[in-house]
Amino acid sequence: MSGPEIAGGPEVAGGPETQDGVLNETMTRVLVADDHPMWREAVARDLSDAGFDVVGTASDGPGAVRRTLALRPDVLVLDLNLPGMSGAQVCAAVVQAQISTKVLILSASAELQDVLEAVKVGATGYLIKSAGREEFLDAVRATARGSAVFTPGLAGLVLGEFRRLAAESGVKGRREVPELTARETEVLKLVATGMSYRQIGEHLFISHRTVQNHVQNTLNKLHLHNRVELVRFAIAKGLDIPG
């Protein structure tokens, strides 16, 4: 963890005031994976109190994967420091199973590199554990809707990854890498420096929904690139791709 502070409110397009959000809330099924019993229980209690259906908990990596595949929750709230498997491995296993479960990372001290790995293989949000309760609940709601939960810290990581890919392709003259459009870069930079979607929308004279789309696109490009890389690697090694 190099960022001393990955803070600031997660951006939640639509927000809890959206009619669908409220209607779906009682049906949202959540699985909590954390090796610290106190956190696991506190998080599960907060979720139940807020009307979510906590379908189960897990205290290690393999357990988290097993239960996610068996229970198929809408959202998996995942601590990155689980015994048995790395957070990225858990994410990858869940994404590979091609179920509808979305992964929200909730971690106390994860290395930024680990967070980035997990986001690249398919997690759709990252929140630090010191985030407030409402902030956390909003993030779970957003994740359940399929929206990316972008803190400034996560935006900085994603932006940094695209910069790295661009620099790498420039140096090696390598095969195509995904690029952000100028607008996407601009939006991501503004998210990374603490602006809300609404503020960005006003600043750029676009709707905050458009801002949300831009942000979502950057994450999709990263996921797609990761998948393409995996396939390329597998072909090079002569492996079969599941799915």
């Binding site: 963890m1 190099s2 960022g3 001393p4 502070e5 990955i6 803070a7 600031g8 610290h36 019993p37 106190m38 956190w39 506190a42 420091n81 106390a108 001290s109 290395e111 930024l112 590199q113 967070v115 980035l116 554990k129 010191s130 407030g132 309760r133 400034p152 810290g153 935006a155 900085g156 990581l157 932006l159 940094g160 990854e161 910069r163 790295r164 661009a166 620099a167 420039g170 140096v171 930079k189 990374a192 420096t193 603490g194 602006m195 503020q199 600043h203």
Partner: protein, 429 residues
């Protein structure tokens, strides 16, 4: 909470002993283990195993060439037969730990000396004084090399000295006078051989031991890092948990909660700086001060409750001077935010690595500056802080741009090359 604590403690107690090598480590006092001998020493042993039979064959050839001149040829065949049996025996066990013990190479040295002395009985004094070779020829050198390889340069030279004494006795007693120059010459060469090979073996053992020690220390440090991460994770969790509960409880607990939150932030900053700093001998050190500072560690010191530093996942290595200037510029900008942006203003410091350049964006959500006021301030010379930042950046060959509007805070973007600017390299070697 309690059960979690106990689990952690149990892990912490179980792990530090988990050094797989520690128990199989050979005791330095005992004979060196052939399995863990350095490559150079192993090569010397293998060379010796080849040399010994060749030297014996040469001794056999020399003896057969002059057996007509011998006083007691049968004794020569007996002695050579004994040496041959020894050579074959040691050859059969080659590479075995047994052939590399003091006892075995002691017997070998005794055989060598005995064979040299037996030349006195085999040859007539005239032949010996005529400069004939000793019966074992080069074979005794094997014993000298064995002592040098097993016990180092002192033992090598001592063994050579003993062989030399046997030589002198063999020649000297027959001649009733000082040994001739070729004998002395051979003895000096043998002593030097023992010393040199012994020194070589000593050096490679020392290097090997140092390497093993370094690897052991590295493994221990890595293990400690891993434990520290687990402990930090636990402490950070606990602090955030206290913060969270304190908010629920309200009242005086809130104060405790904010203390916990502050400590959590400090610990997080500390852990991140420590774990990001490249270890000794890392790439940063190798590159010298020129391109070796991780800007993330430098700027993360600016973070506090109202300032969020947003770094990329990988290190952002810049020249140390560039890091200092950027840190000073960011510090000045944040001071400005604290003074002018309002009490509740927060600031974000985004670090971007764009390949050759690095960009640092400082944005606050404070009151901002009304349009036109900036230009007005510039004209009246009241843009002190901003001017100093712009000055610092242009000294480095970089740029600084300021953007502000009322109610939307202020955004300052600094872009600079990661290496030393060419004009600086002359002045700051």
């Amino acid at each position: 909470m309690r059960s979690s604590g106990q689990e952690r403690q149990a892990t912490a107690q179980a792990e530090p002993d988990a050094e797989p090598d520690a128990r199989t480590e050979p005791d330095p006092q005992t004979e060196p283990d052939p399995q863990t001998e350095p490559t150079v020493v192993a090569a010397l042993w293998r060379g010796l195993e080849v040399f010994r039979p060749l030297a014996w064959l040469y001794a056999l050839y020399s003896a057969s060439a002059r057996h007509q001149d011998m006083a007691r040829p049968w004794l020569a065949w007996c002695v050579l037969g004994l040496l041959g049996a020894w050579t074959v025996g040691v050859g059969l066990y080659r590479g075995h730990r047994l052939t590399r013990t003091t006892a075995v190479i002691g017997v070998e040295l005794a055989l060598a000396c005995g064979a040299i002395l037996s030349t006195r009985l085999v040859d007539t004094p005239q032949v010996i004084l005529g400069g004939a070779r000793t019966l074992p020829g080069l074979w005794p050198a094997a014993a000298v090399v064995a002592w040098a390889v097993l016990k180092g340069w002192r033992a090598g030279m001592l063994a050579a000295f003993l062989v030399g004494v046997a030589d002198v006795l063999e020649v000297g007693v027959a001649a009733q006078g000082p040994p001739n120059s070729s004998t002395v010459n051979n003895i000096v060469i043998l002593v030097l051989l023992g010393g040199c090979i012994g020194y070589c073996a000593d050096l490679s053992r020392e290097g090997h031991a140092a390497l093993r020690e370094a690897l052991r220390v590295q493994a221990r440090v890595r293990e400690r890092d891993r434990l520290a991460r687990t402990v930090h994770d636990g402490v950070l969790q606990t602090l955030s948990y206290i913060h969270r509960r304190a908010i629920d409880l309200g009242g005086e607990a809130r104060e405790l909660g904010s203390m916990a939150a502050e400590q959590e932030r400090l610990l997080r900053a500390l852990v991140s700086t420590v774990s990001d700093a490249p270890g000794p001998g890392g790439p940063a050190l190798a590159a010298g001060g020129r391109a070796g500072v991780d800007l993330r560690s430098v700027l993360s010191r600016c973070a506090d409750g109202a300032v969020h530093v947003i770094p990329p996942a990988g290190p952002v290595l810049v020249a140390s001077g560039v890091a200092e200037e950027l840190a000073a510029a960011v510090g000045a900008a944040l001071d400005n935010v604290r003074r002018h942006a309002g009490a509740d203003a927060q600031a974000w410091v985004l670090i971007e690595d764009t390949g050759r350049d690095v960009t640092v964006t400082i944005r606050d959500d404070g009151v901002g500056v009304p349009a036109g006021r900036l230009a007005e301030a510039a004209v009246s010379g009241r843009l002190g802080v901003v001017n100093s930042i712009v000055g610092r950046m242009s000294d480095l060959g970089g740029t600084a741009t300021l953007d502000s509007s009322p109610g939307a805070g202020t955004c300052l973007e600094l872009t600079v090359s990661k290496g030393w600017p060419p004009s600086w390299t002359d002045q700051h070697p």
